[in-house]
């Protein structure tokens, strides 16, 4: 446990000193700030547009950051053999994976918090004052964070198996497919073949459902998600992440390190 904490803190420190991270956060802030412009141009929907843009920025850049650090940090350890240092100590391979994961999640949480602060600053600039009704976006941000936890888990899984370029491609592809699962099921249902229908249904249930976490549009209208839905989504995210981490550990434990 202590060792997992050591690796997590180390991973966090490493990613925080990564210049690309800052660039992405700066761009996210620019996009959020652009909400002020979009709001004034979008006749009649200033606030809606601002929230939409701000939350979309947090989501998109959060995704980019998750994929980038999820892949590059592990790859760097393997490529530069700093991994040898860690594993030559009395550290189990599973502890390494878990430590890396929690470090990455911590980084994402901090980034998201920074972007959220920027978002509320911009919202305050636009509205002049904030009320309790403006808490709806926080729910959407929580859902974004859940989604990013999953993405980082996927990125970690792939990056222990293949090169960073391939890992990025696989991770993003899985993200895209994970957003189209209902369509996948739909194709199956429309096709004549029962076997295909069954297969696609099974696949759509097994793959991670990223689309389920989209809450930006409702939040822009100030709509809150039902409490039990927050719970069910959190549970799904935690469970699926556990599955991803277990798979990663299983693969990593038997891997010959070159």
């Amino acid at each position: 446990m202590n060792r997992i904490a050591a690796i997590a803190v180390h991973t966090f420190k490493e990613s925080v000193r990564e210049r690309v991270l800052y660039t992405l956060v700066v761009f996210a802030m620019l996009m959020i700030g652009a909400g002020l412009i979009l709001g004034s141009v979008s006749v009649g929907i200033n606030e809606i547009a601002l929230v939409n843009l701000g939350l979309s920025a947090i989501s998109i850049f959060g995704l980019l950051i998750a994929v980038f650090i999820g892949i590059s940090l592990v790859w760097k350890e393997v490529e530069r053999r700093t991994l040898y240092n860690v594993l030559s100590k009395p550290v189990a391979r599973a502890e390494f994976i878990l430590g890396k994961y929690f470090g990455l999640v911590l980084t994402l949480a901090v980034n998201t918090a920074v972007m959220t602060a920027g978002f509320y600053l911009v919202l305050w600039c636009e509205k002049g004052r904030l009320t309790a009704a403006d808490l709806a976006p926080l729910e959407a941000i929580y859902f974004i964070l859940l989604e990013l936890m999953l993405v980082v888990g996927v990125a970690l899984l792939f990056s222990t198996m293949s090169s960073p370029a391939l890992s990025a491609v696989f991770t993003l592809s899985l993200y895209v497919i994970g957003n189209l699962l209902s369509d996948l099921r739909g194709f199956g249902e429309q096709s004549g073949s029962a076997a295909l229908r069954g297969l696609l249904r099974a696949v759509s249930l097994v793959l991670p459902d990223f689309g389920a976490f989209s809450d930006i549009a409702p939040a822009a209208h100030g709509e809150l998600v039902a409490g039990w839905q927050v719970l069910s989504h959190s549970l799904y995210a935690v469970l699926y992440t556990a599955i991803l981490l277990s798979a990663t550990i299983l693969i990593f434990e038997r891997r010959d390190l070159r």
Partner: protein, 326 residues
């Protein structure tokens, strides 16, 4: 209990993802390392030295055979608790300072915050890096990296220390420092297992050596025995000796050569060096040096053994520049 016990350890690598062919990196290696000894693993590049290290550290998995460290089999995580490791060509974290890195290493070994701070301080001092504690590692020279690597290998005060090419990249001063460090560790009862292809280093430090070639163990033995058997003669150099000194030494049947006021006497290898020295000094001579002249240096010995066995894959042979100098 052996410090390290290796039993028929074998490692095959697949040549390609789809290929069925294997490359045998280590072939049924067996050897033991006694506690408290300095053990040298010699061999040309590609002989399997690094593979052996990685197997011992569980970075790769054996195809066959087994090994244990301080009585614990390799799969046991605790086997690494009393172990320290310096990898070949180490690369550490660019973004950390030396102190931060040692802190991390100590944390991974289970030291608490106070212990970590103390050990970092001690070790940085010991390897001569205390002035660079706050410097980010990306600014380190190769020599500094190497020294820091040794520091992190010692952070948990291990009983067994594995060093993979510890002298690589060091200037003569650095190498002297590492040598002294190794001897110091030995004095403290640690077991050192290091691999190198720089022979004078091995010569200066090791109790026993093993020669690895093409994944196989070629030779194993006490270094002194190997060296003594190769001594050809003893050379005594005197500065402007008085005639009675030469007379005193005549009994040893020396071959004498003069070079200005330097007189060189070559004596038989079986001559008792102590007696020779006594005689020379007793006769009032000034002794400049007394050295064994070897028929073979360890380098010659090594090269001959390696060439003899004609390695099966086209590995590069160790050139004399690589092996002897640096």
């Amino acid at each position: 209990m052996w410090a390290v016990e290796i039993n028929e350890l074998t490692k095959d690598y697949r040549l390609g993802f789809w290929s069925k062919k294997h490359k045998r990196a280590l072939d049924h290696l067996s050897l033991t390392v006694e506690p408290g000894e300095v053990f040298g693993l010699l061999g040309p590049n590609g002989a399997g030295k690094t593979t052996l290290m990685k197997l011992l550290l569980r970075l790769t998995f054996p195809t066959a055979g087994s090994a244990s460290i301080l009585g614990r089999p390799l799969g046991d995580v605790r086997a690494r608790a009393r172990l320290g490791y310096l990898p070949e060509n180490p690369y550490f974290y660019d973004h950390l300072t030396a102190a931060e890195f040692l802190n991390y290493a100590g944390w991974l070994c289970g030291l608490d915050a106070v212990e970590r701070r103390q050990r970092s301080h001690e070790l940085l001092e010991r390897v001569g890096l205390s002035g660079s504690a706050g410097v980010p590692m990306r600014r380190f020279s190769k020599g500094m990296v190497q020294r820091l690597g040794i520091a992190q290998a010692l952070v948990n005060d291990p009983d067994v220390v594995l060093l993979d090419e510890p002298m690589s990249g060091l200037d003569p001063l650095g190498r002297r420092q590492v040598r002294d460090l190794v001897l110091d560790l030995r004095r403290n009862g640690k077991t050192i297992f290091f691999s190198t292809h720089i022979l004078p280093d091995a010569e200066a430090l090791c109790d026993r050596v093993a020669v690895l070639n093409g994944g196989r163990l070629q030779d194993l033995g006490n270094l002194q025995e190997i060296l003594r058997s190769s001594v050809q003669s003893i050379e005594l150099v005197l500065h402007d000796p008085p005639p009675q000194a030469l007379a005193a030494l005549a009994g040893f049947n020396p071959t004498v050569t003069r070079n200005g006021d330097r007189v060189r006497l070559e004596l038989s290898a079986n001559a008792d060096a102590d007696a020779v020295l006594k005689a020379a000094l007793g006769a009032g001579a000034r002794v400049v040096s007394l050295n064994p002249v070897k028929l073979f240096s360890l380098e010659d010995y090594f090269l001959s053994r390696v060439q003899e066995s004609a390695p099966r894959s086209t590995e590069e042979k160790v050139s004399s520049t690589e092996a002897g100098l640096g």
